[in-house]
């Protein structure tokens, strides 16, 4: 009787199991098919439901803390490296001989660059997400002073007499001038759009600052990015040099003799439909030379060669004898060695017209590229040893420092920074994100168009079958988890679909990512990309009077004449906190003739101040223009009753919007009425 009962129970469980399994599996299959937009993605619940968790104990458990070395310097005696560990907010003191990390010095939020005083006793560290520069006493291993800067300080340098410290403010697009005697910022000078690199000429007379983004121009006009020249004696802007068809000029270096300044750059061809990738028509990578003698020409050279591209050049460094330059290409894990005597010969012997032509010739790089040296994952900042015989490179996503023998141009054993050895799924995704291996002939990586995992400010023709239609502004990837659907028209329900087969067909023109790689990439994109704190407009989480007035306008239900605003005409209807999106679709009256007739996916507005240009095709260069130029019919909110002062208040409020995580907390506080 007991056996019968047992059989009955077991049979019942099996039947129930089968009843659940087959429909359940079918439902799971349908769900996975929907989310991935393919029919053969493995039914692995963990892919999404574990690795996409971005907060809480599970997220903490499955992820690890990495150092992510970004820039570095070396002591005057060549025995110690000082490494900026960006993700750990630390300065690592590394003994070169023993290859050991001797000290961890806590610095500010998201440190970017480091320089040393001439006597080697003091380090200056820029903290990009804290809007300051820290002064570190290296003997004590302590931060002794913190000096406020503009928004997003990155590259830094000292005046030749070490009276002034200059910090390039990437987010606010200017240059902070710090008087080191007074230990405070004394002025802020305008620079190009999104500047980063900085270099003082060997004679100490001028400072160059390179910008990462180009001037905003209407779609159809060629790109021009700026190098701003400052007079370091007067601390004033002295000249602005336009670098044609280039952007992402991450770094700049003078030769020791001062005859050239070299800038790493990318040449995007965003005006050409992206289906031309296989013709080499999407991205080129190279460097520019600004001659410092004679006509002071600006000449561009490619790093790329036929059938192989060297994407995402970051640092550019000149050997101590001025005969070679080194460029770290983050997208292909290589350092290119450039023979500068060849460059000098070319500059002296080729006419200008031919130089312009050759700057597009992939085969020409063989005349000046000496060697391609493999590195670890995502090489970033570089430094030469004191005697110039070694080159050290920060392998950002391997948590080590690569070492290169400059006599043999061979890699030596790297210096491990002692971090975790485990590569998590999200970390693997980040490595894939910055690597160009998934694109035809390594032409570009995800990072190329999404620098800092954000956006590059360009408008691209993403057309598939319809050339010239649907030009769109690149969207930020910061904090996009929980903001599906994706793409300007919201046609992608998941990042899987966005980055899957369609991605390879239209964008990368090579094999699609494998499913494990796609899982990892999605995990990183959805969990690993934060918004920097909004230090510019809302540093303390307290709204200013103008921002509070703007908030009232954002949430208003009646216009200036007392007339009720239809629900669809209120800002807050489509843009509710904390993401300031209702994840729905709307026609805001900005569809152009070349667009398909669709509604737009409502964008989230967190850190919207940092995402110019605006609207789906980047036609609005400023937030104001969304309404002054393109809000005429009140389809993008009812605004035409407003005064200019009210519009300014509204924009002040929009500028104040920060990370959704912080917004959520603020909303809770507001709801509780205890603000």
């Amino acid at each position: 009787m007991k056996t019968k009962k047992l059989y009955f129970i077991l049979g019942f469980i099996v039947v129930i199991g089968l009843v659940i399994y087959f429909p359940g599996r079918k439902a799971a299959r349908e769900h996975v098919n929907y989310m991935t937009a393919v029919e053969d993605h493995p039914l692995n619940c963990v892919s999404c439901h574990l690795h996409m968790i971005d907060k809480g104990p599970i997220a903490k458990w499955q992820n690890k803390d990495y150092y992510s070395p970004y820039n570095l310097v070396i002591s005057n005696d060549g025995k110690t490296l000082y490494v900026v560990a960006q993700d750990a907010d630390k300065l690592l003191v590394v003994d070169v001989e023993s290859k050991e990390v001797k000290q961890h010095i806590q610095v500010g939020d998201f440190p970017h660059s480091i320089i040393l005083s001439k006597d080697g006793k003091t380090a200056y560290v820029s903290n990009q997400w804290a809007d300051n520069v820290m002064i570190v006493d290296l003997a004590k291993g302590q931060v002794t002073d913190t000096i406020s800067t503009g928004n997003g300080p990155s590259g830094i340098t000292l005046s030749s007499d070490e009276t002034f410290l200059y910090a390039v403010n990437t987010f606010s697009s200017d240059l902070t001038v710090i008087d080191l005697n007074r230990k405070q910022e004394v002025k802020r000078l305008p620079a190009g759009f999104n500047p980063a690199g900085i270099s003082l000429s060997p004679d100490g007379e001028k400072i160059y600052v390179s910008s990462r983004r180009g001037r905003m121009v209407p779609y159809g006009e060629p790109l021009v990015s700026e190098v701003t020249e400052f007079n370091s004696q007067k601390n004033r802007v002295s000249n602005i040099l336009g670098i044609d068809e280039a952007y992402m000029m991450e770094n700049i270096s003078f030769t020791p003799g001062g005859d050239m300044a070299l800038i790493s750059l990318i040449r995007p061809k965003n005006l050409v439909p992206m289906v031309q990738v296989e013709r080499g028509w999407m991205m080129n990578h190279g460097f520019a030379v600004i001659e410092q003698t004679g006509e002071q020409r600006i000449v561009q050279f490619l790093l790329d060669e036929p059938n192989s591209y060297y994407s995402d050049p970051y640092d550019i460094l000149v050997s101590k004898d001025g005969k070679r330059a080194f460029v770290s290409s983050t997208g292909v894990n290589r350092i290119s060695v450039i023979n500068l005597d060849s460059i000098r010969y070319i500059l002296q012997n080729y006419p200008e017209e031919e130089l312009a032509f050759l700057s597009y010739d992939l085969s020409f790089s063989r005349h000046y590229i000496e060697r391609r040296i493999p590195t670890g994952a995502a090489p970033k900042g570089m430094v030469l040893s004191a005697d110039g015989s070694r080159l050290y490179v920060a392998n950002q996503l391997d948590d080590n420092i690569g070492v290169i023998d400059l006599n043999t141009l061979e890699s030596l054993d790297p210096i491990d920074l002692g971090g975790t050895q485990k590569v998590t799924v999200a970390r693997k995704g980040r490595q894939l994100f910055v690597n160009a291996g998934g694109t035809f002939q390594n032409q570009y990586s995800c990072y190329t168009c999404h620098p800092d995992y954000h956006e590059d400010g360009l408008v691209y023709n993403m057309a598939g079958k319809d050339m010239g239609r649907n030009v769109t502004n690149v969207q930020s990837l910061r904090e996009i988890n929980h903001t599906a659907p994706f793409k300007w028209n919201g046609l992608n329900q998941s990042v899987y679909k966005q980055d899957g087969m369609r991605f390879s067909t239209v964008l990368t023109r090579t094999e699609a990512f494998s499913y494990p790689d796609l899982d990892a990439l999605s995990s990183f994109i959805l969990t690993g990309i934060k918004n920097p704190p909004n230090m510019m407009y809302n540093p303390k989480g307290e709204l200013t009077a103008a921002q509070l007035r703007g908030k009232e306008i954002f949430e208003r239900t009646v216009d200036n004449y007392g007339k009720e605003i239809p629900e669809k005409g209120r800002c807050v209807t489509c843009h509710p906190a904390p993401y300031y999106s209702n994840f729905s679709f709307e026609d805001v009256g900005t569809l152009s003739e070349s667009d398909d007739t669709i509604k737009f996916d409502t964008p989230h507005l967190n850190n919207i101040f940092a995402s110019a240009p605006y609207l789906h095709d980047g036609r609005a260069y400023t937030l104001e223009e969304i309404w002054t130029k393109y809000g005429g019919k009140d389809k993008h909110g009812v605004v035409n009753d407003m005064t200019k002062m009210q519009l300014n208040d509204l924009i002040a409020y929009l500028n104040s919007l920060g990370s959704a995580e912080l917004e959520a907390k603020e909303q809770e506080v507001l709801k509780a009425g205890v603000k």
Binding site: E229, K644, N655
Partner: protein
């Protein structure tokens, strides 16, 4: 080298006197200016910046260069100029927006692409990191660090209407010449306004010229050495922080009550009127006028009741004066027909 105004404390009579300029040289379209109508002039180091109806003209090393909307200027009608002491950037108020000229690049702020109140910029002044403008739609304050604008009109400041004509800064304060609203003072520390209006409120005649600003329709303000000078279309006012004093063409050496522009440098106020240029220290006056029918003219020197004249050939290029600037011993005068350059001469 800075501006070498005479030392008032000196025993030298020459040094105490209001400077007289002569050796006039005039510039028009015929010798390098893009047009004859000049609105503003500012000396910037070794170069002279001139706002004209046809663009920004720059005089350097004896040559003129013109910049227009094709170079990036917001509008060719350049009617106000200031140079930031902090950054060296040139700020240009035009009939179509505000333009920053930095390192050779023009950057435009207008009422569509920014929070600026109005595109008609009558006056601009740099005050540290802030740039103030007086426009046809209110005064504006630009934070050059954040690119945010604050607008001040009759809605949030003690103004009569949004129309503003002049703005100046000094001593941690900003003064705005507000049409029909007298002078509006903004305190940088308290971020509060106060106004100075004509106490008698009479629009036709000022019965008590020393009781406050002489008229509510103000056209220009300038601050130097603790003195605020206020130009109106009905006379001039001087304010030392305690006392006001009014000046008119009938009781002083002022060329005309119709004052287009005021610039104070050192102890002197330079007053651009519809009937010539006047310079004063508040006591003595030197007024420059061009003859009606020829290129010659004179300086009328007024000391108390005494008037003397000094003839010049040529004189300033036109009596309708719109702008002025001085550096060292050289004066530049913008008029509705040409630009004049004068040199200080012995009296």
């Amino acid at each position: 080298m800075g501006f070498t105004q005479p030392d008032k404390n000196s025993d030298d009579e020459e040094a105490k006197a209001v400077p007289i300029y002569g050796n006039w040289k005039n510039f028009t379209k015929e010798n390098g200016l893009p047009g004859n109508k000049t609105y503003a002039v500012r000396v910037d180091g070794d170069r002279v910046l001139v706002g004209t109806h046809e663009g920004l003209a720059v005089y350097e090393d004896g040559k003129w260069t013109t910049y227009t909307t094709e170079d990036g200027l917001s509008h060719n009608g350049v009617i106000a100029i200031d140079v930031s002491e902090l950054t060296g950037d040139v700020w240009l108020g035009t009939m179509g927006g505000l333009t920053r000229w930095s390192g050779g690049k023009f950057e435009v702020y207008d009422q569509l692409n920014s929070g600026m109140a109005n595109d008609l910029v009558y006056s601009v002044v740099c005050d540290g990191k802030y740039v103030w403008v007086a426009t046809g739609g209110g005064a504006g304050k630009l934070d050059t660090y954040t690119k945010e604008w604050e607008i001040f009109t009759e809605e949030n400041a003690p103004m009569h209407e949004p129309w503003t004509y002049g703005v100046c800064a000094g001593n941690n304060k900003v003064w705005i010449a507000a049409w029909g609203g007298g002078v509006i003072e903004y305190n940088n520390k308290t971020m509060h306004f106060r106004d100075y209006v004509d106490p008698d409120g009479n629009m036709e005649i000022d019965l008590f010229p020393d009781d406050g600003v002489v008229h509510d329709i103000t056209t220009g303000v300038s601050y130097s050495d603790g003195i605020l000078w206020v130009g109106t279309y009905f006379g001039l006012s001087r304010y030392d922080g305690v006392h006001w004093k009014g000046y008119f063409d009938h009781d002083s050496g002022l060329a005309s009550n119709f004052i287009n522009f005021v610039r104070a440098v050192g102890d002197y106020a330079y007053l651009c009127t519809d009937k010539g240029l006047s310079i004063t220290d508040g006591e003595s006056w030197v007024t420059y006028k061009k003859n009606e029918n020829d290129k010659n003219g004179k300086a009328i020197i007024t000391k108390g009741e005494t008037k003397t004249e000094k003839a010049f050939s040529p004189s300033i290029s036109h009596n309708f004066v719109l702008g002025v600037d001085v550096k060292d011993d050289v004066i530049w005068v913008a008029t509705s027909y040409g630009l004049s350059r004068g040199e200080r001469i012995k009296q």
